[in-house]
Symmetry: D2
Subunit: 147 residues, 4 copies
């Protein structure tokens, strides 16, 4: 049986793009409380948006090779119920808006349909020197202004 | 020369407790952009509040041994400037309020006085079974109601 | 398309059990050299042996729930070529021997058939108090003496 | 009181250089067994050799800025006793030999004088493109041939 930790079943909608990733909790991601440490969730969110981007036919690796960097400038997470070792989780990632230089993603982490956590990140588009630059056309997909 | 990553110089005030921790950036904490990965900041915040608690004469380890667990239920971080490998950073942690079952901390990460990031966490007090329980008296220090 | 990071295609042989896991390199697993940090490989090895165990119809989570703990007492890794961000890697895990209280696994990490690293771990079987205890029958699978 | 996690008290000898670093165990470094996860030790070893290098008047950051990269090509760890959350540990790092392109370090992790783990790493000297290059003179310190 194949479990996916980075697979993506994209669900398109008129003004956003959404995808689902399955994540198997690693032992090293859990703490002495026997639950996933809170600092792991941002790493999973990064996987969610990476796989959502891949579904658009683009990879973040290609973006960096082209000199386009996306840096997290804002992060928020609400932890509702603990995730545990070996849980098979579902991460719903929504690319809900793109500005001229920023992208916002929303995340919902589920276990058998039960919401464990929600989160939001804002990415800023940078050049190789770390200066702000406009998002390339290829990253305007989620932009409501574009739809 | 001794650099502290967990030392604490507490600064008391009428309605809060604040402390400063020095953190040396580890190579493993940095990513291909050559800067600290955003998921590392919550780990540093945890160090900040742990050392601030230690200054009150209590350790989180003792709390868990006594069946008192503090779980992060809310996290937010604003990333302003990148931290880099080998930077010697100053983390200011403020224990700015305690409720009946929750504690809020604010964080400011500085490099030579320049603010790199700010953050806030809310902790909920849990028992060994993971159920909400009132904060013990010993954790009421930061509570304005107590001052 | 579904990529597996924890899937397992077991290959049985007379005196060992072997399985293959696919791992997608995470951004947070890479360092300023632009390659996977060397401390990440032991985490992947843990995934490899966890999934190999799952293929035997047992999960490590169930073992711990039954009071059986497997602790790494010996680790060695040879790094031959760097793994890079977003690489899709193949991890071959071989459960090549079980003693009375220890299990040895060998690992081979591949990218498109090219060997990037090899490793070996030895696990000791512990009880809830951390004392050495005999391996349960269910973990004798790989033991050549048993075959 | 100030605890050092990266301080270094160097002890010179005729054919090696040795230093001691104090490490406070972070909560995020511990796993559901309530002990430090085995993949954390290589990160501590990296701190140990980084601080030992600093004592020679050189920093690894400066080396990379000069186009000299040190990549781990071999790692081994023996885990004897578990390290626990909030432990204050002593890491003894010995720079015991330098070859023409490689450096070997030995590590001993102690808690109140009790050995918890030992390890060894071999680093290869690389240029910016990842090709093998000779060690610069400044890294020949530990080389017995040089003494």
């Amino acid at each position: 049986m194949i479990f996916s930790s980075v697979g993506m079943i994209p669900v398109m909608s008129s003004d956003s793009q959404q995808g689902t990733t399955t994540i198997r909790v690693r032992y090293a991601e859990c703490d002495p409380m026997g639950v996933v440490h809170h600092a792991v969730y941002p790493i999973w969110f990064e996987i969610g948006r990476t796989e959502l981007l891949r579904e658009t036919g683009l990879t973040y690796r290609e973006l960096e090779e082209a000199g386009v960097y996306l840096a997290v400038v804002d992060l928020s997470v609400k932890y509702r119920r603990p995730a545990r070792y070996d849980d098979l989780l579902t991460l719903k990632t929504t690319w809900n808006d793109s500005g001229r230089v920023k992208i916002t993603h929303d995340y919902e982490l589920l276990r058998h349909g039960e919401c464990l956590a929600t989160g939001r990140t804002t990415l800023a588009c940078l050049d190789k020197e770390g200066g702000i630059r406009p998002l390339p056309e290829s990253l305007m997909i989620g932009n409501t202004d574009e739809n």
